[in-house]
């Protein structure tokens, strides 16, 4: 226990102290590159070290990463004190292929700072939840660390080439994690997930290259691509490519009808992989729509979003209804995640400051809450050895702490005020309201009340879940003697995520300010629906 705490606290404190805010002086090492390098170094060390050290190395570096993530958050906050919309900070630029205009270009603005923070939190929790993996442990932690390295790079890249490279870099370990350590129809699920994600990215890639060649300045730098006065994309180009990019990114965020990889994938994936995928990788979809598609192709966005919003609406409602009917514990959570991602995309479609801010906060919140819920499902499954809802029941009698935590997680999913889910959803619906009732008639006037219905559905299926799994009489009497409540290592990551969710829910101001640092200039630049 002591050594566990030391492995967590020492690297966390070390990296927290090692990196400085601008007021404290210059940084010895670039924090953003370190943020990518830490998990990759962890992977290399795990390959080299004996198997019994694998999980310790993984945890050590995850805490290090958490320290950097939190510090980057504070650094950006400190910069924001001076200038509320500072644009990209901590920029690192290394020329890579000059004649193709590709640079190794890292930087964070408000939105990506939040995502970096999210990656750090989920990585840390995932490393802890994987503590008791025994099958091929060494390889497991190698793939796990590589996955994080890829995602971290994708959120920090300002160059589309590297963005794409890191993103696909993350998909590959995902395939292996699901295919080897998964459960159920794991090979089918792994293949489906990989192929669908990469098929989406094929559209992304062609879109990126088309943008490169059609812009006045041939570049992959999103700061330039996001500025219409420099790129000069004409209206036709924008209208052609926006839907393709939206759907390409949308596949990552499981937009209807390309959501089918998500339930199967999450249903089969090992716990930490579901956490990282639902929490972090999936968020990349909405993130990249805001990052790339909206600023680069605003006319296309205004033309298409009132139509594409129907897809996101189907996501929210259809997935929620399907979640109601699921028989497998984990599938409920998986569909709930699809429904929540629908809400994120719905927020983006409003093209309103509050709607987009809500989308980003909801991304952060969904990342944390989904990770927490998957961690709980995984832990409960590890104890009860079944995920079928009819066989579960009354579990809070034998595992009261886990039961209590699950109720909290369910409330966070439903959007209870005080927890993070509320802030995001509130902002999204505010954005939808404004989009609908300011100016002339828009489609949001009709959609807004329908969208709110999804909250009701979410409440219904989560309460049903809590009731079926944790309350009532204990269905399987054998569990009474065999099963203990969660151990320290199992409780710690879940509790940690709960604390983060509470922090966002109770004091959302710094988080909203930070996302606003990206959104306010973006909307000012492209303008909402007229």
């Amino acid at each position: 226990m002591l050594s566990l705490l030391a492995t967590i606290l020492v690297p966390f404190a070390a990296s927290f102290v090692f990196f400085h805010t601008p007021a404290q002086g210059a940084n010895l090492l670039p924090p953003l590159s370190c943020f990518i390098a830490v998990p990759l170094i962890a992977a290399l060390l795990i390959i080299g070290a004996p198997e019994k050290f694998s999980r310790w190395i993984s945890l050590f570096f995850a805490s290090l990463e958490l320290g950097i993530g939190v510090k980057v958050f504070f650094i950006f906050q400190a910069i924001q004190q001076v200038n509320p919309t500072p644009g990209f900070q901590l920029v690192e630029e290394v020329p890579w292929l000059k004649n193709f205009g590709i640079n190794y270009l890292l930087g964070v603005d408000g939105m990506s700072t939040l995502m970096v923070f999210l990656v750090a939190c989920v990585y840390f929790a995932g490393a802890l939840i994987s503590w008791n993996i025994t099958l091929r442990r060494k390889e497991y932690f190698v793939y796990f660390s590589l996955l994080v390295g890829g995602v971290a790079g994708a959120y920090e890249s300002m160059d589309l080439f590297f963005f794409f490279l890191f993103y696909e870099f993350a998909v590959l370990p995902m395939y292996l994690l699901v295919g080897i350590w998964g459960s159920g129809r794991k090979e089918y699920a792994a293949m489906k997930l990989t192929l669908m994600l990469l098929a989406g990215s094929a559209f992304m890639l062609v879109g990126f290259i088309a943008m490169y060649f059609n812009s006045n300045i041939h570049t992959f730098d999103i700061r330039i691509l996001g500025d219409l006065s420099k790129t000069g994309f004409d209206a036709n180009f924008q209208k052609t490519w926006f839907p393709l990019l939206f759907l390409g990114f949308g596949v990552i965020a499981a937009v209807f009808p390309f959501h089918t990889w998500s339930p199967d994938g999450y249903g089969s994936a090992p716990t930490a992989a579901s956490m990282l995928h639902a929490g972090v990788l999936k968020s990349l979809g909405g993130y990249s729509i805001i990052r790339v598609a909206l600023p680069a192709l605003p006319l296309g966005a205004k033309f298409w979003l009132p139509m594409l919003v129907f897809l996101t609406l189907i996501n929210m409602l259809y997935a929620a209804i399907v979640a109601l009917k699921q028989k497998d514990f984990k599938y409920v959570i998986a569909y709930s995640s699809v429904s929540h991602c629908g809400a994120i995309l719905f927020g983006i479609c409003t093209l309103q400051v509050s709607g987009l801010n809500g989308a980003i906060i909801q991304t952060l919140s969904h990342g944390i809450v989904a990770a927490m819920t998957f961690a709980l499902v995984g832990t409960v499954y590890g104890k009860a050895h079944t995920r079928e809802l009819i066989k579960l029941g009354g579990l809070s009698a034998v595992m009261p702490i886990l039961g209590g935590l699950f109720v909290c997680a369910a409330m966070a999913n439903v959007g209870l005020p005080g927890l993070s889910g509320f802030v995001g959803e509130f902002l999204i619906f505010m954005g939808a309201y404004r989009s609908g009732f300011q100016g002339g008639f828009t489609v949001f006037q009709i959609l807004f009340p329908i969208a709110i219905l999804s909250i009701v559905l979410t409440a219904i299926y989560y309460l049903r879940l809590v009731q079926m799994v944790f309350f009532g009489p204990l269905k399987d009497p054998h569990l009474k003697d065999e099963v203990k409540d969660g151990s320290f290592v199992e409780i710690l990551p879940i509790a940690f995520l709960l604390v983060v969710s509470l922090a966002v829910g109770l004091y959302p101001k710094p988080f909203v300010d930070m996302s606003n640092a990206t959104i306010a200039p973006l909307i000012a630049q492209i303008g909402g629906f007229q």
Binding site: W96, L97, N99, F100, R136, E139, F161, F164, L165, F166, Y167, E168, F169, V171, L172, Y175, L176, G179, I180, E187, M191, T194, L195, L198, A199, A202, F203, L205, V206, I209, A210, Y212, F213
Partner: protein, 472 residues
């Protein structure tokens, strides 16, 4: 090249084990001399603006482009030689020396092809390459598959060579010269004629066979399956690279007349699309790894053609870079296949199960090299495809790039099937796979190169660029 020929004479009398090493040494020497040529060539170009070494009255010219192609061909030959060690140990034959000699002879033809400036020379070197390959493919006399492969290859190959020669004869008739550069000038001076179009079609048909571009690909899976594995590896890389060398010279120098340009570019676009679609779809149901690689190589030829038809400095750079990357990945994968099938005696995909337990290195090679072929980041194949499709989109072939990208995802399915066997499935027999130091070194090198070139392609890119600039 000289060294290769000396090598041929030397080894008839030497004993078996030494032979192989001698051959490797010879190839190393050839690579070294090519590398020297590269340096001196580049140096003299800077100083005098064109002191490129030439031979046979300018029929062979070793410009930057030729050096790059030779580099790829010779490196592939080197790894093929390494494979023959193990292959011949597992499949004894009475004529090991001849096997090596013919292999080197074929490599000699391929290298000559890379620097041929004149259609007759080009044809002769091409025949040197392919006739040797016919023999190599059918080398295992007792093996039915090998004989079938050789026969099929010979019949179809001879037919395609005839078509090619037929096309050349028309071109000669139209222009009165056999030197490719003069041919280009003469064709540009005259109005486009249907005869020239016919010649172009014949030449494409003849050469497309050599690089197994659909619909001239029928022989590929059968020959790849039946031929001795090192030969399959050799055919898939060296022979294909040589074919592209011929394509580049013939079309971008000889047939780039304004009236003809769009004809052949359009034809190639169609062929590339068919190859990508057919190759990838037909690879999916394959059970035999060599057959799978055969179909995969058809698709790969399609991707490379995509960059080739885009042309210009950018397209050609992309082609060269991708050929290098393809060579590294394909040779790595084939070396792993040779090592595993020498141990298990099987070439079925399911017999690659459990490499993570039997030999983690081979497991990693299967993952990295095959996914590089699929074009998944962060491996080199991704950077390669990015340039290929980038070049195609810059020339307005967005649809072709789209086809290429979508079918790259399809290809991922069958590559992942192999990777899954190697990394996820429990083996039936978990005895380790033996391999020697040289094999280990090459496998590690292929993995390291594939990963580093994915993150940092600049060195090879710059080489490819300076090579491409000798043409454009």
């Amino acid at each position: 090249m000289l060294i290769l020929i000396v090598e041929l004479l030397l080894k008839k009398d030497s004993s078996r084990g030494i032979l192989n090493w001698l051959a490797i040494l010879g190839t190393l020497g050839a690579i070294f001399s090519v590398a020297c040529l590269n340096c001196s060539g580049a140096g003299s170009c800077c100083m005098m603006g064109g002191g490129v070494p030439t031979a046979f009255a300018g029929f062979l010219k070793t410009d930057g482009l030729a050096v790059f192609f030779k580099m790829v061909i010779l490196l592939a030959t080197l790894v093929t030689l390494l494979m023959t060690f193990r292959y011949l140990k597992a499949h004894p034959t009475a004529y090991p020396a001849e096997f090596l000699a013919i292999l080197l002879f074929s490599a000699c033809g391929a290298s000559a092809l890379a620097s041929a400036q004149e259609v007759i020379t080009l044809y002769i070197s091409l025949e040197t390459l392919t006739i040797s390959s016919y023999i190599l493919a059918s080398f295992m006399k007792k093996d039915k598959g090998s004989n079938e492969a050789g026969m099929k290859y010979l019949l179809l190959g001879a037919f395609s060579s005839a078509l090619l020669l037929f096309g050349f004869s028309y071109l000669y008739g139209l222009t009165g010269t056999t030197v490719i550069a003069d041919m280009g000038k003469a064709l540009a001076a005259q109005p486009a004629s249907s005869l020239a179009v016919l010649a172009v079609i014949l030449v494409i048909a003849g050469l497309a066979f050599k690089i197994s571009l659909a619909p001239f690909h029928m022989w590929t899976p059968d020959v790849y399956e039946g031929a001795p594995t090192p030969v399959t590896a050799y055919l898939s890389v060296a022979s294909k690279t040589a074919g592209f060398a011929a394509f580049v010279r013939l079309f971008w120098v000889g047939l780039d007349a304004p009236g003809l340009h769009y004809t052949w570019v359009g034809l190639f676009a169609v062929l590339a699309a068919i190859s990508i679609i057919l190759g990838n779809l037909e690879a999916i149901p394959q059970k035999n790894i060599k057959r799978l690689m055969g179909y995969s190589s058809i698709a790969q030829a399609g991707y490379i053609t995509t960059g080739f038809l885009a042309g210009g400095q950018m397209g050609l750079t992309a082609v060269l870079f991708y050929l290098f990357v393809y060579m590294v990945a394909n040779m790595g994968a084939f070396l792993a296949i040779v090592i595993v099938s020498a141990k298990t005696g099987s070439e079925q995909i399911e017999d690659f199960a459990g490499m993570w337990k039997r030999s983690p290195l081979i497991g990693v090679v299967m993952l990295v090299c095959l996914l590089s072929l699929a074009g998944v980041p962060p491996f080199a194949g991704f950077a390669g495809k990015w340039y290929l499709f980038g070049a195609a989109i810059s020339q307005g072939y967005t649809w072709l790039a789209m086809v290429g990208m979508v079918f790259s995802v399809v290809s991922l399915y069958y590559y992942l099937q192999v990777a899954k066997q190697a990394l996820a499935v429990e083996p039936k027999d978990s005895s380790p796979i033996p391999m020697n130091l040289a094999e280990k070194a090459v496998l590690v090198l292929s993995v390291v190169l594939t990963i580093t070139l994915g993150f940092w392609p600049t060195p090879i890119m710059e080489l490819a660029q300076s090579a491409a600039s000798s043409l454009f």
